[in-house]
């Protein structure tokens, strides 16, 4: 994206009717590493490719539990993502206390978008620098949502955001129509395959650099252990060796 006049702050329109600061904020997501979300009739899954600042460092966590029926991952500015996670957790817990029941995931995502919208219409604020993928469960089943700095949110069958997400998107587009009735394990394999397809060859895929979490009608939100992820990864690489 080239620099333009009219991009100094969030409250200035360009003559073409664009708000450049928001568009630049959306670029921040592409700097973050990959997030993938997908669902079947019974489960929704998030998978992320984590980065480590250096060889000596731990991989940085991007995938968080919001409530027993909601999970979140994000791409972009980690600090913004963690603050959003804290907000969603507080809202979900507050609702549970006053209403005696779990908050509806779509309502929660809507609250986040309302907060994000305020940041696009004040001279003193900047938009959030993250896109979030949210999985959640309500009476109608599992859902996958994407939120972004422009304060929109969308619901998806399957979605990918972050660096090199196009390969993951292409994989999901080819396969999503088969997702509805898959078992939990088959769905997990698709999620990990989508992550793999975006990973460059020099990126090490292991149980810590890849995170996966699942929520479903009979499954409160939980992370897959790194052993379970490694098992899936080696299953996939064996299969690929056979194909070749």
């Amino acid at each position: 994206m080239l620099k333009s006049p009219y991009d100094t702050d969030c409250i200035t329109w360009s003559p073409q009717g664009r708000l450049f600061q928001i568009e630049y904020a959306m670029e921040a997501i592409k700097q973050g590493s990959l997030c993938v979300g997908l669902k079947s009739n019974d489960y929704a899954i998030l998978a992320t490719l984590n980065r480590a600042p250096s060889k000596l460092a731990e991989y940085q966590q991007k995938l968080y539990e919001i409530d027993e029926h909601i999970g979140l991952c994000f791409s972009g500015l980690t600090a913004d993502g963690r603050l959003i996670c804290k907000y969603l957790r507080t809202e979900a817990l507050n609702y549970k206390y006053t209403h005696g029941t779990n908050i509806n995931p779509q309502r929660l995502v809507g609250k986040l978008s309302d907060k994000a919208q305020i940041k696009t219409q004040r001279h003193s604020k900047r938009p959030y620098g993250v896109g979030c993928l949210v999985i959640g469960l309500d009476e109608n089943g599992p859902h996958v949502y994407e939120t972004s700095p422009d304060a929109n949110f969308y619901e998806y069958y399957a979605v990918a955001i972050g660096a090199r997400c196009q390969s993951a998107k292409t994989y999901l587009e080819k396969n999503y129509e088969t997702f509805s009735n898959l078992s939990k394990d088959e769905l997990i394999i698709h999620a990990v395959k989508a992550v793999k397809s975006s990973a460059q060859s020099d990126v090490e895929l292991n149980g810590r650099s890849v995170s996966v979490a699942i929520v479903g009608r009979d499954t409160p939100f939980k992370f897959l252990t790194s052993d379970e992820i490694e098992a899936t990864l080696s299953q996939l690489s064996q299969a690929m060796e056979v194909e070749v």
Binding site: T98, T101, N104, Q106
Partner: protein, 229 residues
């Protein structure tokens, strides 16, 4: 700004009785609001519907009852405005208002009521008792106020989960009649309301008959607990 707190109630309703029956919840109150010992308003409703999902009846301060109705109906309207198909059921309203009442109790400024809330949760009949302290209890039948002492033993002896509407009405009317005999703040003009899977329905209020010429009233010494010899 001067703070004020509800110190003691002024215009009050007496007992509420509600039972689960075969079709849902049946609830009954008398139609009296008392101003201390004065029977000030003799034909006012002490039950209300919140949307289509919830029937609520209250004893205690009448203005606080009106406020509770306003709060809960506002919540129902908020859902309608969201227009996303999500609605709150009786259980949600009960949890919500009991959280509100507990919070206000902790600040020393309660909503001075005992409420019974009825509806359906997960397609099952739901009946809750909620009071000014923030107590929130579920049950097959509930009463408020004086009816705890006078009517509840009668209801408890005869309640069954498969009561028909007629049977439930007869049972509750027994409880309301004894209240008229013994509660100095009760009245003999009562109203029934029910909530079923079709929604909330209010019956017309009516006056029931009572017999003040009973032998045991006229000749008190017939009372087995009469203390004088």
């Amino acid at each position: 700004m001067e703070k004020s707190a509800t110190v003691s109630p002024i215009l009050t309703g007496s007992s509420v009785i509600a039972v689960k029956y075969s079709d849902g919840i049946l609830m009954c109150t008398d139609t009296l609001a008392s101003y201390g010992s004065m029977a000030m308003f003799k034909e006012i409703p002490r039950m209300a519907a919140i949307g289509k999902s919830t029937l609520i009846g209250a004893s205690g301060e009448y203005s606080d009852f009106q406020e509770i109705i306003r709060i809960l109906r506002q919540k129902d309207t908020d859902d309608f405005i969201e227009h996303d198909g999500i609605t709150l059921n009786a259980g949600h309203f009960a949890s919500y208002i009991s959280s509100v009442m507990y919070g206000k109790r902790n600040k020393g400024n309660p909503l001075y009521n005992s409420l019974l809330m009825g509806g359906f949760v997960n397609s099952q009949p739901y009946l809750a008792y909620i009071d000014l302290y923030g107590t929130h209890i579920l049950g097959d039948y509930h009463v408020t106020g004086f009816a705890h002492y006078i009517s509840k033993p009668i209801i408890a002896a005869e309640w069954r989960p498969d009561l028909t509407e007629e049977e439930a009405k007869i049972l509750i009317e027994k409880g309301m009649k004894v209240l008229w005999y013994r509660d100095a703040r009760a009245s003999d003009r009562i109203q029934f309301a029910k909530i079923t899977r079709n929604g909330v329905e209010f019956d017309d209020p009516y006056k029931f008959n009572s017999d003040w010429d009973q032998e045991s009233f006229k000749n008190y010494s017939l009372n087995p607990l009469y203390p004088y010899n």
